[in-house]
């Protein structure tokens, strides 16, 4: 090994990293993060309300949109989960259409 070059590389690397310091609030941030639960449930209250509304008038084994599917309790789970995932313009439009459809019938 070339000792001169080794010393040069080591010195430059140490000097360069010494120009930076870890954040001053690092310890506080760490302890705050550690105190939090590892997983936080993300809730969408508004979308959950819409999902509840859409499913309110559904018959057992029927979706909010009038299609008949297998009559089992599990059926509603994926639909509800999908709806509560996000709210988009198309979903709001669907909501209106479904509401109108129910009122008309």
């Amino acid at each position: 090994m070339d000792n001169g070059m080794d010393r040069y590389i080591g010195r430059c690397l140490k000097n360069w990293t010494a120009k930076y310091s870890p954040p001053l609030d690092g310890r506080t941030r760490l302890l705050r993060n550690v105190s939090r639960p590892p997983y936080t449930r993300i809730s969408h209250p508004f979308s959950e309300k819409i999902a509840t509304f859409l499913n309110r008038y559904s018959m057992f084994g029927e979706t909010s949109f009038g299609e008949t599917r297998f009559a089992c309790d599990q059926f509603y789970y994926p639909r509800q989960r999908q709806i509560s995932g996000s709210i988009s313009q198309s979903l709001i439009l669907t909501f209106h259409l479904a509401a109108n459809h129910r009122l008309a019938n």
């Binding site: 070339d2 000792n3 001169g4 010393r7 080591g10 140490k14 360069w16 930076y20 690092g26 760490l30």
Partner: protein
């Protein structure tokens, strides 16, 4: 004031002590931060990795062997997380960086005067950052953290021959990038010309 050993702190940590975590953080934050910084070349990423390493230390404290020193565990976790960060978060940036470097003119094409005007530290950091990740980690652990080949082998969980090989090729690349020539007194570079490239 009584000095608490690392072993005692890790034991307290395994019992869920946040004080012990804070104390270990204060002791080893520089070690973790500088290693992460040298590997990623990004101070913000190094700050995030510093948090990640100590969060994992807390979460996986029960898996740590109290009888062994804590530093190798911290080095291993830092290297692994930095590696993941580089592979995941920087992958899409690489072509852009290459393009920017090409547009700005590669450092390999710098003239003698330009090379001499650059700050040696920054120049070396850029050269280290241009190394492949596997070589960079070995170079950083060897030159920055002053670890032995055996220690690096254990931390990265690779054979010692691989460590030697990566270090060898890393040094060659650095020498080429830095255009290193003859050294005077082993301290100051005498020749930064491009004759050796």
């Amino acid at each position: 004031m009584e000095i608490v050993t690392d072993q005692e702190l890790v034991k307290n940590l395994q019992a869920g002590s946040l004080e012990a975590l804070g104390e270990l953080y204060d002791r080893y934050r520089q070690l973790v931060f500088r290693t992460a910084l040298a590997i990623t070349s990004d101070p913000e990423a190094a700050s995030d990795l510093l948090q990640d390493v100590f969060l994992r230390l807390f979460r996986f404290a029960d898996r740590i062997d109290v009888q062994r020193p804590i530093q190798p565990w911290l080095y291993r976790m830092t290297a692994n997380l930095a590696y993941t960060w580089l592979k995941r978060d920087r992958r899409w940036l690489r072509p852009l960086e290459n393009l920017a470097e090409w547009l700005a003119g590669s450092t390999r094409n710098l003239t003698h005067e330009v090379v001499e005007s650059l700050d040696d530290w920054d120049h070396l950091q850029r050269a280290v950052a241009s190394l492949p990740v596997s070589q960079r980690m070995v170079v950083v652990l060897y030159y920055l953290d002053d670890l032995s080949l055996q220690e690096i082998s254990e931390i990265l969980e690779i054979p010692i021959g691989t460590v030697k090989s990566r270090l060898h090729y890393g040094r060659l690349s650095l020498k080429k990038d830095l255009s290193l020539g003859v050294l005077i007194d082993g301290d100051k570079l005498a020749d930064l010309s491009l004759e050796t490239t």
